[in-house]
Amino acid sequence: MDPYLVSVLSNIGLFSFLALSAWILLLGGEISFGQQAYFAIGAYAAGIASAVWAWPFTAAVLWGAVLGAGIGALIAWPAARFTGVHYAIATLAFAELTRAALNVFHYQRDVDGYLTGPDGANGFGDIRWVYEAGIEPGPYLAVIATLLLAVIALIGLAARLDVMAQLRMVGEDPILAAMQGVRVLRWKIGAAAAAGGLAGLGGGLYAHFATYVEPAQFSVMTGVHAVAYGLIGGLGTALGPILGVLIDIGLLESLRALAAYRMIVFGGLVAIILILRPRGLLDETLVAKVRAWARR
């Protein structure tokens, strides 16, 4: 496969984890502008584990996901008491704090004669496990795609067990949900943990793909994009946020002619879609119609 195509597809796959992370919270009724923080946490944690501690790749990436989920749950415990704008601001503040902390986070150790590990604002390079294991970009793309498909399958299973319906209940009308026996706070914390874990998983995969990460990559713009992906792609299905990533990275970023105007075009697109289809392209109405049609 064309190396450029492999790289674009890998990026689409990696940012899909981040988009799904923000999407889960959107279903639960919260807008988070801070999911990039969990992406960063996953990237740094997995990078440190494989590059500094010499853990195997699988364990390192898993550790990034677990840490993302744990911190997500920990932050949600107080943050879930906020709603709307307050929640958005709280998540944004947390993400900026995380980025500021990474800017001064130095943890370098001697690995085979080289100082390896996060070096504050200078970033964190030599996350080379994948390359040293001789895994080419093509097969690594397959790893990303497989994990993404597994996540989508897991969400499909959750939908079948009506987990997603209950999360949507909490998001739409927490009072009515509580009346029907749904434990709202638990769902909010659970959603935040799942979202943190997904972003952490994506971050770990990203660090091993890029081999170099720095705090500046995890800016607020990244978090805003993550929310926008779900909003334009649609909230009706897990494929929605992935469609959003496809549109942004696959179309806008890759079309050279548009590259200079990418932000403007993307912003305009978000505005237009939100006016025409407030819950995105693949919204609940469309999904319900497809389901009804499929059952016939």
Binding site: L161, D162, E172, L176, M179, Q180, G181, E284, T285, A288
Partner: protein, 256 residues
């Protein structure tokens, strides 16, 4: 069966509900009427636990509900509809019912067993409720895309899905036509015939007078009368409360 004992709710200086005591008997359709702002909705909110009372108690079959959270009351058999329709607009009609039916049960049941009766293949009683509410053909439509009348019917079906002992209907005819009012009356009777006790709050006097067994009247948060529809229509205090509020005419017509 359902007893309110000296129930009050004050919002700052507003005595929304002020020392109300009443008992609703098993199997009856009980009407709760009163001018706008007289505390009817607040009473429902106190019974379901949306508000905690300033004073007084709510008991159902001898169980003190007063300190129970809302979902515990739901599983004890209290269900309601809202004056301003509340549904999960982004869930399908069937999902709204299915989740309501299972919401209070699932804590007891292992969630993996739900695999065998997932929401997509709704169980028998959800189908039956869909038929009962004339919503079967709409089962896969999002609740938010229903017509107003269908939403009202779904709301009542949702309340019935939790298998209640007492159903609180807060102005179910609001916004409905005369004709719909007739159908609604039939449906409320059918609900009662299923063995559900009904507390009906309603402005449409014809409806209330026609189908209730007994009525209590609230005014400024206080109960000013209680009795059969005929006794209520003849009550001078009730007539006074309604005078000038535009409802006296309706009362005349209903009693005519």
């Amino acid at each position: 069966m359902l007893t309110l004992e000296n129930l009050s709710k004050h919002f700052g200086g507003v005595r929304a509900v002020d020392g109300v005591t009443l008992t609703i008997r098993e199997g009856e359709i009980f009407g709760l009427i009163g001018p706008n702002g007289s505390g009817k909705s607040t009473t429902v909110n106190l019974i379901t636990g949306l508000y905690t009372p300033t004073t007084g108690t709510v008991t159902l079959d001898g169980w003190d509900l007063t300190a129970m959270p809302q979902h515990a009351r739901t599983s004890r058999g209290v269900a309601r509809t809202f004056q301003n329709i509340r549904l999960f607009g982004n869930l399908t009609v069937a999902q709204n019912l299915w989740v309501a039916q299972n919401g209070h049960e699932q804590r007891r049941e292992h969630f993996l067993s739900r695999w065998f009766k997932p929401g997509g293949e709704h169980g028998a009683s959800v189908d039956e409720l869909l038929q009962f509410s004339r919503l079967y053909s709409k089962r896969d439509v999002l609740a938010g895309n229903l017509s107003f009348g269908e939403m009202r019917r779904l709301e009542m079906a949702r309340a019935l899905a939790s298998n209640p002992r007492v159903l609180l209907l807060d102005e179910p005819a609001a916004g409905a036509s005369q004709e719909d009012g007739q159908l609604l009356a039939e449906r409320i009777r059918a609900v009662r015939d299923r063995g559900v006790t009904v507390l009906l709050i309603e402005h449409m006097m014809e409806l209330v007078m026609g189908i209730t067994d007994r009525i209590a009247v609230l005014n400024f948060g206080q109960k000013i009368a209680e009795g059969t529809p005929r006794e209520i229509q003849d009550d001078p205090q009730v007539r006074a409360a309604y005078l000038g509020s535009g409802h006296d005419e309706k009362m005349e017509r209903a009693s005519a």
